[in-house]
């Protein structure tokens, strides 16, 4: 038997589009009055997020990373490590204390989205970002239909044809394995796993360049988690959407993320290709994290 294979090696280019869709620089968020000592006196060495001088909480500081089109980056760390705060700053739920972020789709990536006026900020969020929250009640209006929830994103992105909105919502919900017969039902009647799948459908609705996922499977039973993670992998394969996945679960990050940031006490202590983080962790905290789980 001979192999009738065409040589794919030289078919594509070596490096894909190297311009990042998202670039984050020194993202810092401090809760409290803040003082000049805040950043210096907190972090993994100090083993605290609370500034001993003024009592402010440095949720995250100096978080920087780039994300290329279609890639997925994970942010792992224990609760209180600042990963969710960083994500919520990017989505616009929280204002950062300092730092910059650039999206390729906003003014050619040359203007800091944190400096955008509230109307632009809203447009960026409505047109170019998607978010899946840990708690479905944050990401969904549980009292309007699941189709209506997906429609809200489309309407925010200025879709103005009911038939097209319904088609898109039905298609997305179908892909997330929500029967079309239930799209006019309110998500309050759904199981946790179904609610999260509605959230994903909603987050993807407007064709975002980046989807932010915050502990999306943490509240689910293990068997339900598996189904949701499978669907996310399908999405990754089929859509050219970049993702930031926040999770305390290394297993989730291993499945979904090509690169990983490890956070502790509000700082990124290590960043690398995910298999490197898992097989050759350098920071003591990462080594502890990796050795603590059975993978």
């Amino acid at each position: 038997m001979t192999i009738t294979q065409t040589d794919p090696v030289n078919a594509g280019q070596t490096f894909r589009d190297t311009a990042p869709v998202l670039r984050v620089e020194n993202l810092t968020r401090i809760f409290g009055p803040g003082c000049p000592d805040c950043v210096a006196r907190t972090g993994p060495e100090a083993e605290t997020n609370t500034c001993p001088t003024c009592g402010s909480v440095v949720a995250c500081a100096d978080v920087s990373f780039e994300l290329r089109p279609g890639r997925t980056i994970g942010i792992v760390g224990e609760s209180g490590s600042g990963k969710t705060t960083a994500l919520r700053c990017l989505y616009g739920d929280l204002a950062p204390t300092s730092g910059r972020a650039y999206l390729s789709v906003y003014r050619d990536g040359e203007r800091d989205i944190f400096e955008a006026d509230p109307q632009d900020r809203r447009r960026i969020r409505n047109f170019h970002l998607g978010m899946v929250y840990q708690n479905p009640s944050q990401g969904l209006n549980l009292l309007i239909s699941s189709g209506g929830n997906v429609a809200e994103r489309l309407l925010a992105a200025e879709w103005r044809k009911v038939a097209a909105i319904r088609d898109r919502a039905a298609g997305l919900l179908g892909r997330m394995e929500i029967p079309v017969s239930r799209m006019d039902e309110i998500p309050a009647n759904f199981s946790g796993g179904m609610q999260q799948r509605v959230q994903v459908a909603k987050a993807l609705a407007n064709g975002p360049v980046v989807v932010l996922l915050d502990e999306m499977t943490s509240g689910l039973d293990v068997s339900v988690q598996a189904g949701v993670l499978d669907l996310m992998q399908d999405i990754q394969r089929q859509e050219q959407v970049a993702m930031v996945v926040v999770s305390h679960d290394l297993g989730v990050v291993r499945l979904l993320c090509e690169r990983t940031l490890v956070m502790k006490n509000g700082r990124v202590v290590e960043a690398g290709v995910t298999d490197q983080i898992l097989e050759d962790p350098h920071h003591p905290y990462t080594q502890l994290l990796v050795s603590s789980v059975n993978m």
Binding site: R122, N141, G148, L155, A156, R160, D184
Partner: protein, 299 residues
Amino acid sequence: MTATVTNPVSTDQQAEALPGYNYAFLDEISKKAIRRSLLKAVALPGYQVPFGSRELPIARGWGTGGLQITLALIGAGDTVKVIDQGEDDSVNAVNIRRLVERTAPDVTTTTETGTATIIQTRHRVPEQPLREDQILVLQVPLPEPLRLVERREAETRRMHGEADYSRMWVALYEDIVQNGRLTRAAGYPALVNGRHVMTPSPIPRWDLPQLHMSQHLSLFGAGREKRIYAVPPLTSVVPLSFEDYPFTIEQFGDRACARCGSTTSFLVAIPNEDGSVEYSCSDSDWCYSRIDAQEHGTA
């Protein structure tokens, strides 16, 4: 105690006005404050400007917002028309007109749409298109179009600030999903100048196109809610709707006004004692002018 009032108008006029009251009832400082809010409202079409709503000799909720605007604007030479649901003769319209007459003696009142300089109205826009030298003042009970989808004031302000109207759109979408059409009858939400969503006060859908790119200035006053907003002349007012579910006005089929025979005006149903229903113009001036014209025409 006698209040000392600074009054820029002539002592002549004051002498003729209702004794003990300032010209046009409101004190001049209040009028200036209201006019400043009006200027801001005109500069930001559709944006709800907060204002210090004053006490008036009518109850809040009975048109005090519109009345304060009218009283802040009128002066010598103005002609005021007041209508309530299209009628010049309702008790409320008559009372407001009488207050204007008694506190601003150099202002005349009228029921004719064409001769009025300021038209204060509740729930209707006159059928006859207004000119650029006319001002329409609408009484607004509930100025916040987002109140139906968000009860927190701070949140609705944020939504306006960010032009975040997706929840409003969802409410319309859900209306279609549940009812197969857009069911909102009065106070239909519209986007003003491509920026702010407003409620045009509870006017029928029929009237909404009259506000779009109009020659006249429309001013909206909500006394109880302490908000003023405006649609300046030649400003777009676009009802929120969908490509496949467009905004439509009320349809009256082949019905005509039982009094004047009009088929091009907003009709209201009047039940007869025998159970049958008659239709007639909601805008009484429109109706009477037509009847007048017909009588003179045949005479």
